[in-house]
């Protein structure tokens, strides 16, 4: 078997190993979210939904490096109950998994800074679902 044949086989195997269509997560940027030690709702309670095109999860990340530890929580639109919350450390801009659900699940985001740490102003975040 020559090198070209090996390369072709490797390429074919790589293509077959890929999923037919990768999930397309929907993202929304949350610009200038001002947080204090008292929880507040993003956008006064903006409702988000798990997309039909994604993998059924909801995640959050800071786009601007946070200078405070923050706690971001997802609550249900139906009854305001808490789904889950995550603590995000200083300078962490990675996605944090909020919850796993299914297409259509409606949620709202609520955030605060760590107790005793003061406020964090004008930081941008991104929700992916």
């Amino acid at each position: 078997m020559d090198r070209r044949c090996v390369a072709l086989c490797a390429a074919a195997c790589a293509v077959l190993a890929l999923p037919a269509t990768a999930p397309a997560q929907v993202t929304t940027d949350l610009n200038n979210w001002n947080l204090t030690e008292t929880p507040n709702w993003w956008g006064g309670g903006t409702q988000f939904h798990i997309s039909s095109s994604g993998d059924g999860t909801a995640s959050y990340r800071w786009l601007d490096s946070p200078n405070k530890t923050t706690v971001i929580a997802a609550h249900r639109c139906t009854d305001v109950s808490l789904i889950n919350s995550v603590a995000i450390s200083v300078n962490n801009t990675s996605y944090h998994h909020l919850f796993s659900g299914w297409a259509g699940v409606c949620f709202m985001l609520r955030g605060r800074t760590a107790i005793g740490s003061g406020s964090m102003v004008n930081h941008d975040g991104r929700v992916r679902r």
Binding site: T38, P39, N40, W41, G44, G45, T46, Q47, F48, H49, I50, S52, H75, R76, C77, T78, D79, V80, S81, L82, G101, W102, A103, G104, V105, C106, M108, R110
Partner: protein, 150 residues
């Protein structure tokens, strides 16, 4: 006298909420929500007693209204699925003013479309969310000594 005092407190709460802008947080939320929810149509046996207002912190009037409307949409969807309401009852859900131009309006429009055309994953997902919420609401309403929604 106690009833008069309670009515006075409720009136002050509602009047205060009415005066504040839509983005201003209001409290106590359950009293305000009860007042705001009176005009929202619900299927027979429906109510909002299981919403966890006590755990929500401060909410704006707009947010309270959006939560009430989403909860009502869930009640109508379940009523349709259970044969307690015709599919035409879902017709106006997506155009309720609480979520005009929002993601929720698009989702509910697609849910209504799927309900009229034999089903679909988004309808199934939203209904599953509504069923789970209803189970929580029944439990919470009972814990407060309130009548749960049907």
């Amino acid at each position: 006298m106690k009833r008069l005092l309670a009515l006075l407190i409720l009136a002050v709460a509602v009047f205060g909420a009415a005066r504040s802008g839509s983005a201003e947080p209001v409290a106590p939320t359950r009293a305000v929500a009860d007042a705001l929810g009176r005009d929202i149509p619900l299927p027979a046996g429906g109510n909002f007693s299981g919403v966890r207002w006590e755990q929500a912190g401060e909410l704006s009037r707009a947010q309270i209204t959006a939560v009430l409307h989403y909860n009502a949409a869930c009640q109508w969807l379940r009523a349709w699925r259970d044969g307690r309401a015709p599919v035409t009852a879902l017709a106006g859900l997506a155009s309720w003013p609480a979520w005009r131009g929002t993601e929720t309006a698009k989702v509910l429009a697609e849910v209504e479309h799927q309900a009229r055309t034999g089903g679909g994953p988004l309808l199934e997902g939203v209904l599953r969310d509504c069923d789970a919420s209803h189970a929580r609401e029944v439990e919470y309403a009972r814990s407060l000594g309130l009548k749960p929604s049907g």
